[in-house]
């Protein structure tokens, strides 16, 4: 039993966790025909529920998962799961029909009308009541998880952001606050706002489809599911005291010690790779960080033209969207990809900063 527990704990280290979420995501896209079958989905749900029920026998898991603070996370996990399944289910059904030359399901009701009064107003009102009932039951069953008075002399350990910001907090592990706390969140909002202007694909309007909107759906879901939802899950259940990583069945020991030594790219370049020259780190900051700037230049300037030429899904995109749209899109996607890339670099090479100029608080 303890072997199994240890195995699962080990499985939930950040690398495998991220690896599994990536492969899971790919599998979700690839095997969509299979898992959207209601029977399969119900079996999966039953499996998850049983696994969770069994996990409750573990003291540490129970302690973390039954905290009133973490109830929203469970609601989120199950509701995100359900709605993802639902949208895929509807999309898969429609795709099948479209492939056979039939119109989408939505076509059948498209002649009918939904009126603002009574339909919309009524439904919204009912939704309000149902939401109120749900909140009341929630607050009746669980006390508000209040903590002791705040003190400047003592930060709670672990000190966690509100659950919906845990994805942002996770980013802070890999990027400096000015990036993870200011630039990225801003770009997320700007990027979401930009979607209608970038997306010129007229298909999929008014009905669910995956095949006709692959390029729109995959990056969006990657950003939402992998870089937001799973990071919230990770931040809630796997990040413990000292912001250290803990397996789901591991005791949150505030005295746990981990290796957290990280190295800058400049140090790799000048000391490790060019070490045989015996020059060491250049005194001049700009020369020192030259490799980092070069990497960034390649990433943001050389990559976009290359992508449109070499990657199958992107081929011809430049022509379709025009240079401006394509440039904006590429920048957004590359910025989004920067997070998992940095994570991988951190885990694989203990890379601290690509460009590290702590003298001016400019670290990337």
């Amino acid at each position: 039993m303890s072997h199994l527990v240890n195995f699962i704990n080990a499985l939930f280290n950040p690398v495998t966790y991220f690896f599994f979420s990536l492969t899971g995501f790919a599998a979700m896209i690839y095997f969509r025909e299979k898992w959207t079958e209601p029977k399969f989905a119900l079996k999966t749900l039953a499996g998850v529920v049983v696994a969770m029920g069994l996990s409750m026998f573990n003291d540490h898991f129970r302690e973390i998962s039954t905290k009133p603070d973490n109830v929203p996370i469970f609601i989120m996990v199950f509701s995100v799961g359900f709605f993802t399944w639902l949208s895929f289910r509807l999309a898969v059904v429609n795709d099948r029909r479209l492939a056979q030359g039939q119109p989408p399901v939505e076509k059948e009701t498209s002649d009918k009308k939904a009126y603002v009064w009574p339909d919309l107003v009524y439904i919204e009102f009912i939704a309000t009541i149902v939401g109120g009932v749900a909140l009341l039951i929630w607050s009746l069953c669980l006390h508000a998880p209040l903590e002791e008075a705040a003190t400047p002399a003592w930060t709670p350990n672990p000190s966690k952001a509100p659950w919906y910001f845990l994805g942002l907090q996770e980013m802070l592990v890999y990027y400096d606050p000015w990036l993870a706390g200011v630039v990225f969140p801003t770009l997320i909002i700007v990027g979401l706002m930009a979607i209608p202007y970038i997306d010129k694909n007229p298909k999929g309007s008014g009905y669910y489809t995956f095949n006709e909107r692959k390029f729109a759906i995959v990056p969006f879901l990657f950003g939402f599911l992998i870089l937001w939802v799973t990071l919230i899950f990770l931040g809630t259940f796997l990040r413990g005291p000292g912001w250290n990583f803990f397996g789901p069945f591991e005791e949150w020991d505030p005295h746990k010690v981990l290796v957290l030594n990280n190295v800058n790219l400049s140090e790799y370049f000048w000391v490790k790779w060019l070490g045989f020259l015996g020059i060491g780190l250049p005194k001049n900051i700009l020369i020192r960080e030259l490799p980092g700037f070069a990497v960034l230049a390649v990433y943001f300037i050389a990559l976009p033209p290359l992508i449109t030429k070499k990657i199958p899904l992107m081929m011809g995109l430049l022509d379709k969207l025009g240079i401006v749209r394509y440039g904006v899109l590429m920048n957004l996607i590359l910025l989004m990809a920067a997070l998992p890339i940095k994570m991988l670099l951190r885990w694989a090479f203990n890379l601290k900063y690509i460009v590290g100029i702590p003298e001016f608080f400019f670290n990337i």
């Binding site: 009912i126 009341l136 009746l140 505030p254």
Partner: protein, 970 residues
């Protein structure tokens, strides 16, 4: 319409059904919410308390009825009937008087209103007239009218007066007629008054309609009977870091009987804990106690969340596992989390006294805390750990000076290696052979042996100096020595395995002395401790040569053969050299360390490692060692340890099931086995835990846990801090000396109105008194109670006595020791006693009246009649029975303050409840009323004056004439 229906996506009736069910669900939820908000556990407690009170009142009523004197009641009823019958015969007169009274009532009302009207006119006209005169308009006619009005008012007033008189007379006549009946009625009322009160109480405690109405849901905002009870404590604010808020304690919303007397097992058998009275209402909560509820509240002492109103949110903490289980079952108790302050388990509550009384050396009626603090001082906790208010204490162990002249090296080696093997009661803790460096860790074990030898060599080096005893004992008797040791007072500080009735651990246990010291040393030491160590606290008991020889013989007979025969551990020089290298390498590097080692000779190596080891273990915390006077304490500061977060404590890899991961669990575990948090840890020899093992018993450990848990950073404003106001600091200075020299080992101090037994039962008495109690020896053969000592002793005499004590009751076996106190210490003690008793200090005369003539004659007669000399020594006249003897009265004038003597005579038992002194004025009634017109005060003052004259030798000669010393000589 049909078309409209067809083209709609949504179905109207379905939506309506959705609406119906969801709104019904909302209604139910709102109902549940309102009920949950209304239904609170504290209300349940208040209802239960009402029931409890009601049942109790009913029982009382039943008891009242059972004890009721029915015969007397019937007789009174018969009397009442008779009186009523008699009244009937006066019926005419009564009705006349009543009608007269009532008529007058009406008339008086009429005249009175008339009078008030006229009076108002007079006042207004007076003003108008005067104003007219001021403006030069003297209206004669108006003046005449005014005068007329004044006359009218006067006559009306006169009539009113007469009518009132008439009415009063009528009423008085009526009262006279009713007098007899009223008297009987009054008696009946008096007889049943308690019962009526009870009935009213039962009525007010009943669950009637009004109760349910006032406390009904949604109506209870008006005037509910079930209410939250709270005290708001402005003077003890809660520090929530960014600001301070008023502390609000609502504990009494459920603990309803806490501040009221009588809610205990005796009055309410089986009363639930929650409703019980506070066990020390004389000290806490009651309005007359020093800690009234309105000022102190609950949480400042007990901790916990004062504003919370449910069992779990109040952060209750159980005393032990057993209680925790019980609570889980009964209240669904959970370990408090994320709260500002959890409750202290009840057994550690005394620790909280430190929040306000921290500066005081001794907190009255907190025996566990005092014991804990005494242990922290005498066992040397404060030698390694800084503790606020305890950082200036005398070092716990003996100074390591001139050790060569006192102890054999072999002894010291074995002693330091394992103090307990020499003497199970040894206070020196064990640094070696502990769980992280014993023989199960061969490497560490070998290293500690090398450290031991280096340490002892270092101490035995020149810095310790030489010594040889200056005196030699004569032939002593072990038996006589044993008796002396028991009787003269050694046991107040020292323990020894021969004596089981008391074991004091203020000073070292002396079992095994024969294996440790030479007879010459013991003899020289007890004759004059300062010869060996001028700074020692050990006093001299003024032993004669023979007495000292006897005690020496006795102590030398106490030997530990096993220890003598045991071998001191030896060490491996290679391990020692490796240790030296380990010390040197971090600074010098491997080669440098080796080179340095090579330059050291054998002695140099021992000295180097000795010094390092001494620093490592912090020996200087407890022992004065030359060269280490200013060394810093090596342990963690404990001043606010109780406020540390649990997560800041390193429990190592211990299982919470074995060691509770709480504050008390930590201290307890640390004292039980200080090294156990090294278990399963990979840690280098130098980084291992070093705290030594004190091998404390459970009670002592609990006492220390209490004292340590009380060390918090709770904010207490100056006005609420004890010992810093008025003479507080001066008192503390004296108390410091009193604690340092264990005065409480023999004397009762601050034992106002309390008998020795009462003090002992509260853990307040000294060890010698405890021994007297255990051995059933008369307390009067023991050391005196020092209550009111400041008011009692003349300052000069007090000073002389402390400089060189001389026996006041020479027949006692126990002796007041001669302390070698500095002037500063003596002054501190004397001012402590004087300020404690609110004395004029330092200058106070001892003048008394010089009696003459008749006064003197009466005083002398009173003195003789009181038979003072039956017990008291008077100069050379010693009473035949010394077992009931009392101090010499000829010394009174030098020793006692005149005011105190009068107070003492008034009621000796009030000052010393265990005294044998007779009270000649029991309850203020003189036993010899013929003197001084039976005036008690005058008698006592005269007696006092007589005593003072007697001592000054100004007593009258046999003929009754007064003659001073001078007069006699002349």
């Amino acid at each position: 319409m049909a078309d409209f229906k067809d083209e709609r996506v949504y179905d109207g009736p379905t939506l309506t059904r959705w609406f119906l069910w969801s709104s019904l669900a909302l209604l139910v939820c709102v109902g549940i919410m309102a009920y949950k908000d209304y239904h609170r556990s504290w209300k349940e407690y208040q209802r239960k308390f009402m029931t409890l009170d009601r049942i109790h009142a009913k029982l009382q009523a039943r008891e009242f009825r059972a004890n009721f004197d029915v015969a007397q009641y019937k007789q009174l009823k018969a009397d009442l009937k008779e009186a009523n019958l008699e009244l009937k015969s006066h019926q005419n007169q009564i009705s006349q008087l009543e009608s007269k009274r009532d008529k007058l009532d009406a008339q008086i009302f009429k005249v009175k209103s008339n009078y008030q009207m006229v009076k108002a006119n007079v006042d207004a006209d007076k003003y108008s007239y005067s104003e007219g005169v001021k403006n030069g308009n003297d209206d004669k006619a108006f003046k005449k009218k005014l005068d007329g009005e004044i006359d009218e008012a006067a006559s009306l007033n006169q009539r009113l007066f007469e009518m009132n008189q008439d009415q009063d007379k009528a009423v008085k006549d009526l009262t006279d007629i009713y007098a007899k009946r009223d008297e009987v009625q009054g008696k009946i009322k008096k007889m049943t008054a308690d019962y009526e009160t009870l009935k009213k109480k039962i009525g007010s405690l009943s669950f009637d309609f009004l109760f349910y109405f006032r406390n009904a849901m949604l109506l209870d905002f008006m005037s509910p009977t079930l209410e939250i009870q709270q005290v708001v404590l402005k003077n003890l604010p809660e520090d929530i870091y960014f600001t301070k808020t008023m502390r609000v304690d609502r504990c009494m919303s459920c603990h309803l009987g806490i501040d009221k007397k009588g809610y205990d097992e005796e009055h309410y058998p089986g009363i639930p804990k929650v409703f019980r009275s506070h066990p020390h209402l004389d000290l806490f909560l009651s309005a007359t106690s020093p800690h009234p509820m309105e000022k102190i509240g609950c949480t400042i002492c007990h901790g916990g969340m004062g504003q919370a109103l449910s069992f779990n949110t109040a952060a209750h903490v159980p005393n032990d596992e057993e209680e925790a289980k019980q609570w889980k079952r009964k209240y669904g108790w959970e370990e408090p989390e994320a709260v500002q302050s959890i409750m202290l388990p009840l057994k550690y509550t005394e620790g909280s006294c430190l929040k306000c009384h921290g500066i005081q050396q001794h907190v009255n009626f907190a025996p566990k805390l005092n014991r804990g603090r005494e242990l922290m001082a005498t066992r040397g906790c404060v030698g390694c750990h800084k503790v606020k208010n305890m950082d200036q204490l005398t070092k716990a162990g003996p100074a390591l000076l001139r050790v060569r002249g006192k102890l054999k090296k072999d002894f010291v080696l074995k002693w330091v290696w394992s103090p307990k093997s020499f003497n199970p009661a040894a206070r020196m803790p064990s640094f070696f052979q502990q769980s992280n460096n014993d023989s199960s860790n061969p490497e560490a074990f070998a290293k500690t042996k090398a450290e031991l030898h280096a340490l002892v060599d270092y101490i035995y080096d020149d810095r310790s100096g030489d010594y040889s005893p200056n005196l030699a004992p004569g032939r002593g008797s072990v038996a006589a020595g044993k008796k002396l040791f028991h009787d003269v007072g050694c046991l107040a500080c020292h323990g020894i395995d021969d004596v089981t009735s008391i074991h004091s651990d203020f000073a070292p246990d002396l079992s095994g002395t024969g294996s440790k010291l030479s007879a010459a040393f013991v003899y020289s030491w007890i004759k004059n401790p300062q010869h060996f160590n001028p700074d020692t606290r050990m006093p001299s008991l003024r032993l004669s040569d023979q007495e000292a020889s006897d005690i020496t013989a006795y102590l030398m007979s106490k030997r530990n053969k096993d220890f003598e025969e045991a071998q001191a551990p030896d060490f491996d020089p290679a391990v020692r050299d490796q240790l030296i290298l380990d010390h040197l390498t971090p600074k010098l590097g491997v080669e440098g360390a080796k080179a340095t080692l090579a330059t050291m000779d054998e002695k140099g190596r021992q000295m180097f490692l000795g010094e390092r080891t001494l620093n490592r273990y912090g020996c200087f915390g407890c022992h004065m060692i030359r060269g280490f006077e200013d060394a810093q304490r090596i342990g963690t500061e404990l001043s606010t340890w109780g406020s540390k977060r649990v997560t800041q404590l390193d429990f190592g890899f211990t299982d919470p099931k074995d060691i509770s991961h709480t504050h008390e669990g930590f201290v307890n575990a640390k004292l039980q086995n200080p090294r156990q948090f090294d278990k399963d840890k990979v840690v280098s020899f130098f980084d291992r835990l070093k705290m030594p093992n004190f091998y404390l018993n459970d009670a002592d450990r609990e006492a220390i846990v209490t004292a340590v848990l009380g060390l918090t950073n709770t904010y207490v404003p100056d006005e609420m801090t004890a010992g810093i106001h008025g003479n507080g600091p001066l008192l503390e200075k004296g108390k410091r000396v009193i604690e340092d020299f264990n005065c409480r080992g023999c004397h009762l101090i601050e034992a106002k109105d309390k008998s020795i037994d009462a003090m002992l039962s509260q853990g307040q008495g000294g060890r010698i008194l405890q021994m007297f109690k255990n051995e059933s020896v008369d307390y009067s053969m023991g050391p005196p109670n020092l209550n009111t000592e400041g008011a009692k002793l003349q300052v000069d005499w007090f000073h002389d006595f402390l400089m060189g004590p001389h026996p006041i009751r020479p027949w006692l076996h126990i002796r007041m020791p001669s302390f070698h106190w500095t002037d500063e210490k003596i002054s501190a003690v004397i001012s402590y006693f004087n300020y404690k008793d609110d004395q004029v200090f330092p200058f106070k005369s001892a003048e008394t009246t010089h009696l003459t003539g008749e006064d003197l004659a009466q005083a002398k007669a009173l003195f003789n009649d009181s038979k003072c000399s039956k017990c008291h020594i008077i100069g050379n006249k010693v009473p035949p029975d010394l077992s009931s003897a009392a101090p010499d009265l000829l010394n009174v004038h030098k020793r006692l303050k005149p005011d105190w003597v009068v107070e003492w005579l008034k009621d000796p038992n009030a000052i010393m409840p265990d005294t044998r002194m007779t009270n000649f004025w029991p309850d203020g009634v003189p036993s010899f009323p013929k003197y001084f017109h039976g005036d008690s005060l005058e008698q006592r003052e005269a007696l006092r004056d007589y005593l003072f004259m007697m001592g000054r030798d100004t007593t009258p000669s046999e003929e009754g004439s007064v003659g001073g010393t001078k007069a006699k000589k002349n």
